[in-house]
Every structure is written in structure tokens, then in C-alpha cells.
């Protein structure tokens, strides 16, 4: 299979998949599986006419395959920044295996519900799916906890060779991802659905993401919360390159606060029934 992916035509330069596998083999493997699962799922989405909540039954699994792939492959990339010795330690290897198992369980649940043509989230049919919903919530916190673990380990690694601003951005981005996501997802899960106010089922939506434009949508805050681990380190990389030492770290901290505040803002906005993009 790899012969199909890494052709002789590729320059003698960078093997991204190989590098990810080298940095964090478990996360890289599961991330790749998520991407590959999107192929039959996309085909199913093309042929299946069933809907749940006004949307094709395979859209949610596809969104999760994309986002879990992004999540795992980002962590695999960041694994190189963990303190020396962590990845070889037994506790870490067991923990990483658990995270991967939780991701697998979530995907089984999501795809299983779609096979039967029913809702995975907010399922009120009174059956098995409704009963396991809180369990899947716990699993989600469990798999997200890797951001907290990575963030704390990187933040407290005094011997890190990384530029201080970049290291701070990684640590803050990862920890904020965990905190903000649990917050946003908690709001989401505690309610009746992701729409608040005017649109119980949105009439107008933002393309691709499907965010409501007529009312509040709690998924907006969830999106920004999960992407803290991308946006803040990206800022941190730029800060490390453009600003000297301490000022770079300060800029990163200010940016992280602003990002958290913005996420809080869109969360409150949604709870009040207002759209981000009208």
C-alpha cells in the first residue's frame, strides 16, 4: 500500500507519513485509519438517501473522521516536542493506546448509528444509543485529555530545546484546547441539540460546517475551542521567528487570552440564540 503512496517520483525530501509514524506510531496509525475510513463513508454518503435531523446520515461520521484525523496527526507531530524519555516510558505507551482505543470506540458508535439510520448524538429513542450517550461523552473527554497531558508536559519541560515563545504557544494552545472544548462540548451535550433559539433546525447555514445563520449554534464555540491547538502554536511559531525572547512569550500569552475570550464570546452568543455569521 505504501508503494502506492510514496512513488519514485517524489523528491528525495520529505516523507510526511513516515515522519508522523516515527514521532508517534499509535496516533499516526489511527489518524491514517480515520482518513482512510472517510473513503467508504463518503461513498455511502453519495448513495444513502436517509436523513437524521435534516442532514444526510453519513455527514456526522465524515466530520468526525476528518477532525479526529486532524487531532491525532497534530498530536503525532507535536509528540516530537515532548520531554525526552516520555514516549519510551511505559505509562505513556499505555495511555496513548487507551486514547487510540477510545477514538476507535467513538467511531464505531458514530458509524454504527448511521448504519441503522438513527442519531448518535442527542438520541432520545429510549434504546441502547440513548443509554450510552453519557458514556461516549466520558470517552470523548478521555481522548481529548491527550491535549492536557501534552500541554502540561511541554509547558513544564525546563530542558526543552524549543524557542520559549513557541513552547509557550504549544503548551497554552493544547491546555486551552482541553479546557475550552470540555466547556463548549459540555454546553452542547447538556442541551437538546446544537441549535439555540430561532432555528430548531436551521433554515440557512454556513457552507461545509453547517453552522446556523438564523439562530445560535453551540458548535461554533466547539470549533474554535478544538482549533486552539492549531491557531495558538501557529501564532507562537511566528512570534518566535519575529520577536525576541521575552516579548515573544508575552505576545503568545496575550494572544492565548484573546483567543480564549473570543471562544467564550461565541459560546455566550450562541446560548443567547444569536449566530456568529448572520
Amino acid at each position: 500500500m505504501s508503494a502506492l503512496v510514496a512513488s519514485r517520483a517524489a523528491p528525495a525530501g520529505f516523507d510526511l507519513i513516515g515522519e508522523l509514524r516515527r514521532r508517534e506510531p499509535r496516533f499516526a496509525a489511527m489518524g491514517l485509519i480515520m482518513l482512510m475510513l472517510a473513503l467508504p463513508t463518503a461513498f455511502a454518503a453519495l448513495v444513502d438517501t436517509r436523513m437524521v435531523g435534516g442532514v444526510g446520515v453519513w455527514i456526522k461520521p465524515l466530520k468526525f473522521q476528518a477532525s479526529l484525523a486532524a487531532y491525532l496527526l497534530t498530536l503525532a507531530w507535536f509528540a516530537a516536542f515532548l520531554p525526552v524519555g516520555v514516549r519510551e516510558s511505559r505509562w505513556y505507551r499505555r495511555y496513548a493506546s487507551v486514547v487510540v482505543a477510545l477514538v476507535g470506540a467513538e467511531m464505531l458508535w458514530l458509524m454504527g448509528a448511521s448504519v441503522f439510520g438513527v442519531a448518535s448524538h442527542f438520541n432520545r429513542d429510549g434504546g441502547f444509543l440513548e443509554a450510552i450517550y453519557p458514556v461516549m461523552g466520558l470517552f470523548a473527554i478521555g481522548l481529548s485529555s491527550a491535549t492536557l497531558v501534552y500541554g502540561v508536559l511541554i509547558g513544564r519541560d525546563a530542558r526543552s530545546p524549543l524557542a520559549p515563545a513557541f513552547r509557550a504557544s504549544l503548551s497554552l494552545g493544547l491546555v486551552l484546547t482541553f479546557v475550552l472544548t470540555v466547556l463548549a462540548a459540555g454546553f452542547l451535550a447538556g442541551g437538546q441539540g446544537h441549535f439555540v433559539g430561532e432555528a430548531a433546525a436551521a433554515a440557512r447555514e454556513v457552507p461545509v460546517l453547517g453552522w446556523a445563520r438564523d439562530g445560535g449554534d453551540l458548535r461554533v464555540a466547539h470549533f474554535f475551542a478544538t482549533h486552539a491547538m492549531h491557531v495558538i502554536p501557529a501564532f507562537g511559531l511566528a512570534a518566535a521567528l519575529l520577536l525576541p525572547g521575552r516579548r515573544g512569550v508575552l505576545a503568545v500569552r496575550l494572544f492565548a487570552v484573546a483567543f480564549a475570550a473570543f471562544t467564550g464570546f461565541v459560546l455566550v452568543q450562541a446560548t443567547r440564540g444569536l449566530p456568529l455569521i448572520g
Binding site: L4, V47, S114
Partner: protein
């Protein structure tokens, strides 16, 4: 996406794979990449998608002939079954070509096995197996006295 369209596309792709196998003496690795991997994988993706989408709307199952007939009453599941044939017959065809090459069998002996496998699946596999067995006996060394 329409079942008849998928049927045609699948058939065309399979055909391309079989043509690659017929041309395999000219480009053995390319023929194998196409016929053993790429096309069966594409057909498998389509198959898996159809099962995900239509399995629960089918009746019957695999435990009796009548139940299999019931399963195939659902047109999309019949289509999936057809893609299953196309994918695996091609995979076997590629295996035949590789195995023959390893055993240094002349390609003209392989050629009739290919349309046999293409049209009659297991019959082509049987034909190849018989030729291979017959040849092995014919070319095996005599007992050392």
C-alpha cells in the same frame, strides 16, 4: 448516485484491470499495482459504502439459499454482491499472473485462465490450479535412485 451508473463504472474499471493483466508481460509491476491493488481497492471502497448504506434495509442473510435470494431482492445489495465478484475475481487474476511468473510458467498458458476467471471466477482459478499441478508433475525431478 444511481445503481446502474455504479454498475457500469465498476464493470469498466474491472475491464481495465483485466486488460492490464493481459499486458502484464510488458509491465509486470504496473499490471500488479493496477490489478491487485488499485482497482480492487476502489471496488472495495464502493462495496463497503453500499453495505454501510443499505445493509439494514435488506432482508434475509447468509444462512440459507432462500435468505441469500431475499438479500439480493434489495437492488443495491445485489449491486454490492456484483462489485464483490468484480473485485475478488480481478484480485485472483492478478494472483494467477504473479504465481505463474514465479513458477516460470509460459504466459500463453496463463492467458486462457484470465477470461475464465473474469467470466467464471472460481472456474478460472480451478483451471489455473490444474495446469499448475500438471506442470509441476511434468517438470519435477525424478526420484534419486
Amino acid at each position: 448516485m444511481d445503481a446502474d451508473l455504479i454498475f457500469s463504472a465498476g464493470g469498466t474499471m474491472a475491464m481495465a484491470g483485466w486488460l492490464a493483466l493481459l499486458a502484464s508481460p510488458l509491465a509486470p509491476r504496473a499490471a500488479d499495482a493496477i490489478a491487485a491493488q488499485a482497482i480492487p481497492l476502489l471496488l472495495s471502497i464502493a462495496y463497503a459504502g453500499l453495505i454501510l448504506a443499505f445493509w439494514t434495509s435488506g432482508e434475509g442473510g447468509f444462512d440459507s439459499l432462500d435468505n441469500v435470494a431475499r438479500l439480493f431482492q434489495t437492488r443495491e445489495l445485489l449491486l454490492a454482491g456484483w462489485l464483490h465478484y468484480l473485485a475478488f475475481d480481478l484480485f485472483v487474476g492478478a494472483w494467477i499472473v504473479r504465481t505463474a511468473r514465479t513458477a516460470a510458467m509460459p504466459f500463453w498458458m496463463v492467458v486462457p485462465c484470465l477470461p475464465a476467471t473474469f467470466l467464471f471466477g472460481p472456474a478460472g482459478y480451478l483451471a489455473f490450479s490444474m495446469i499448475r499441478f500438471a506442470r509441476a508433475r511434468a517438470t519435477a525431478p525424478r526420484f534419486a535412485a
